[in-house]
Amino acid sequence: MATFKDFRNSVKPNWCPGCGDFSVQAAIQRAAANVGLEPENLAVISGIGCSGRISGYINSYGLHGIHGRSLPIATGVKMANRDLTVIASGGDGDGYAIGMSHTIHAIRRNVNITYIVMDNQIYGLTKGQTSPRSATGFKTKSTPEGSIEQAIAPMEMALTAGATFVAQSFSTDLKDLTALIEAGIKHEGFSLINVFSPCVTYNKVNTYDWFKENLTKLSDVEGYDSSNKSMAMQTLMKHNGLVTGLIYQDTERKSYQELLNGYSEAPLVDADLTLDQAHFDKLVDEFM
């Protein structure tokens, strides 16, 4: 059986020292080993940005695609081979700006994949512009007077879009984050995990200390029930979205693949590419 070391490769990440993404990478590697995966049965599909490089730092199959499109690519991979574990990942710009439409529709579709967003509230790789997660008033190179736009609330958004698994974590909480990724992988449907992953170079507001001060663990909220959607919504609103843990899970709703009429139970990649002559003749006959 593979250990987390088997999910390491020889590539040295080009992230800044202290970047939150290192822990996310480690958590994915640990979670993959903990759920009993072999490297060849994991596909990590990532977007563009600092965090998008993550697929290149994990010893597994993976595709580093184009900006904002990790989810449709990941959906295609999963449709091709339902036996693979497919993790999509990227930053908040990738998932909540250029790729927001895919995020909402992937949630609605409920394909059995896990989506990990490394949320640093800034555009790092392009050297410090505002992100849809930047707070109002946040000063960046592109918002020198401070952002005048409202920040997106991804967890609330996910709940209203019909998500069946919504979780949030903080990159320093390696143990909790690993457990959430494991739960996300095991979840039969789409799982969204938003991870506060501080940018130490360009975000001097939402720092490690800032998160430590402002985050509330749901395990500390008395009577919190992650199967109760309205409680989830109220709790998020009360804490301005700054909670960590499993926010909501619906274990009843079936995944897209299970609901899909006629979809092969065996991986589609193994399907016969030929048709019986009789089958073809019947298809032709329909046009006569």
Partner: protein, 578 residues
């Protein structure tokens, strides 16, 4: 007796014009006639003039006819917009309900038949189209019983009574028209057809069937005219073979999902039209640099932007050849008949896997939506070839290395593993990368990988890159086209030959890499070259100039008003040139 008939039915969109034409055409197809139908329609659900022009012949036809024998009109607008196509012995059959007025400047005859009234008497005005079919039969002296089978198939599930009522409606139209016809007009009796059963389908049907036969098991697409039929067909036909279609949130999701599925090892397709292709361009580059197979259908329509969404045009050529930023190897193929659309689409999946690059199957609205009789499609001619897909067990890779997915090889094609294969792990990225897929910006590596990618398509194997009908060693005129102009060019060529001119015809089937060597001898041996295309700038003509030279001999024959070429237009223009 005539061996060819041109019939048109017109009225307001949503009024059953489509089904009138459909019933008429299916019945005649089953008698063994060759049909070619072309719909004029607008981008709206109800209202607006629509018509369906159907050509019936005892031999294969692939073009709209120049003129018209019979015009069936459900409103005055249909007469006013279309009567000029009628020749002097032509016939207008119009619904008496709207008191049709025959334009003064036509010698065609007109008959007012109470379509709506007769249908209402039988129970519902909805059957007025059946009355019109019956009236047509009277002019053709065609036994109305040939419609029995079709009517049964269409209305059978609504009960036997509905079937009988519809047959009665046909009969009432027939009888009424026959009374009119006594001593007034000549009958247009068609020569008997061979009675052979043949397929009757649109190009999009053939593309979808070709994909299925070619091993496509997944499609992701976004609805768009004139490509949606491909998705709608596969939504019905993929589940029985375990496959699936996902209607995506947008065109970018459609193409990237298709790339994902192909990366996962499944033959996958996306199809769209110009606006969709514009949105897919970045992803086409991803397929190119990551060497992930990808098959895309582009059914061209009038552009730019929303343009003429329901009209014929061939203006995406350059965009398909060069589209995406940066440079990638790509294959662009352009079937010119429905048969070719079937075989080419199936073959596109082989090429995509063999050359590990995007393959664009270029179609156009006329080819994709023109409904026509098709000679048998043979499944045993369809091959499945998967190129350098690794299926054998792989040795373990030491020291945390990766499989050399982008190995620099002589033919440029590298072995390809798919997720799930042990010891085949590698990285895939749209960033320039080394042989293992790891990002690399080194100049030497850049050259090695770029050269390797382009080497793949240097000697591409493609069956009949140029369709040639070249009976002359030296020709007065070489006519060149692509996609659906083939039928009109063929007919024009026949007429020009009768005029005593030596004409050769070349239809470009492989648009990129451009088949210069195939075309050059024909170009060299022609005095004049006429390039026929539905666009405003002469994109194919420019490709020929760029690749084959001979610019001084080339005349662009362009049409971009939304309508397909008619044979007489090409005939006249070519005669003017010599």
């Amino acid at each position: 007796m005539i061996n060819q008939l041109s019939w048109k039915v017109g009225g307001q969109q949503g009024e059953g014009i489509e089904s009138t034409g459909e019933i008429f055409a299916i019945a005649l197809n089953r008698l063994g006639y060759y049909l070619y139908g072309y719909r004029h329609f607008s981008s709206r659900i109800k209202g607006g003039h629509t018509n369906n022009k159907i050509r019936v012949s005892t031999t294969q036809v692939r073009s709209i006819s120049d003129d018209l024998d019979i015009l069936v009109a459900f409103d005055q607008e249909t007469i006013d917009l279309n009567y000029k196509e009628l020749h002097e012995k032509g016939v207008i059959i119009a619904d008496a309900k709207f008191n049709p007025i025959k334009p003064e400047d036509t010698k065609a005859s007109m008959f007012a038949v109470p379509f709506t009234e007769l249908a209402t008497e039988l129970g519902t005005s909805l059957m007025k189209n059946m009355v019109a079919v019956g009236a047509t039969c009277a002019v053709l002296n065609l036994d109305i019983n040939v419609f029995k089978e079709v009517v049964q198939e269409i209305f059978g599930r609504k009960g036997q009574q509905v079937v009988e009522k519809n047959m009665e409606a046909i009969k009432s139209g027939f009888d009424n028209m026959q009374e009119h016809l006594e001593n007034t007009a000549e009958l247009m009796e068609l020569e008997k057809a061979d009675g052979k059963k043949r397929m009757f389908m649109i190009g999009n049907d053939a593309i979808a069937l070709g994909a299925l036969a070619g091993g496509c098991r997944f499609m992701a697409a976004y609805p768009i005219t004139p490509a949606s039929d491909i998705m709608e067909y596969l939504i019905k036909k993929l589940p029985p073979v375990g496959g699936a279609v996902i209607q995506t949130e947008d065109e970018i999701a459609a193409v990237t999902m298709t790339i994902g599925a192909n990366y996962g090892g499944v033959r996958a397709l996306t199809a769209s039209s110009g606006p969709g292709l514009s949105l897919k361009m970045e992803a086409i580059g991803l397929s190119g640099i990551t060497e992930t197979p990808l098959v895309i259908v582009d059914t061209q329509r009038g552009g730019p932007s929303t343009g003429l969404p329901t009209k014929q045009e061939q203006s995406d050529l350059m965009a398909m050849i060069y589209g995406t930023h940066g440079e990638i190897p790509k294959i662009v193929m352009a079937p010119s008949t429905v048969q070719e659309a079937f075989y080419d689409t199936a073959e596109a999946f082989n090429l995509a896997e063999e050359y590990q690059c995007p393959v664009i199957v270029l179609s156009d609205l006329q080819l994709s939506l023109g409904k026509q009789t098709v000679e048998p499609l043979e499944y045993d001619k369809v091959e499945i070839r998967r190129g350098k897909l690794v299926t054998e067990e792989l040795p373990e890779i030491e020291n945390k290395g990766y499989f050399k997915r982008y190995e620099v090889t002589e033919d440029g094609v590298s072995p390809r593993t798919i997720p799930g294969i042990k010891n085949g792990i590698h990285h895939v990225t749209g960033v320039e990368h080394d042989e293992q897929g790891k990002p690399s910006e080194s100049a030497a590596n850049r050259n090695a990988q770029m050269d390797k990618r382009f080497r793949k398509i240097e000697n591409i194997k493609f069956d009949t890159p140029v369709y040639k009908n070249a009976p002359h060693e030296e020709a007065d005129i070489l006519i060149v086209g692509f996609n659906s102009t083939r039928g009109a060019i063929e007919e024009a060529m026949g007429r020009l030959e009768k005029d005593g001119l030596k004409v050769n015809h070349a239809h470009i089937r492989l648009i990129y890499p451009f088949p210069s060597n195939e075309l050059l001898p024909l170009v060299n041996s022609a005095k004049k070259i006429v390039v026929v295309e539905n666009n405003a700038t002469g994109q194919l003509a420019n490709m020929i100039k760029m690749n084959v030279g001979n610019a001084e001999k080339i005349t662009k024959m362009l049409k971009y008003d939304g309508n397909p070429f008619l044979p007489h237009e090409i005939h006249t223009r070519c005669k003017e040139l010599v």
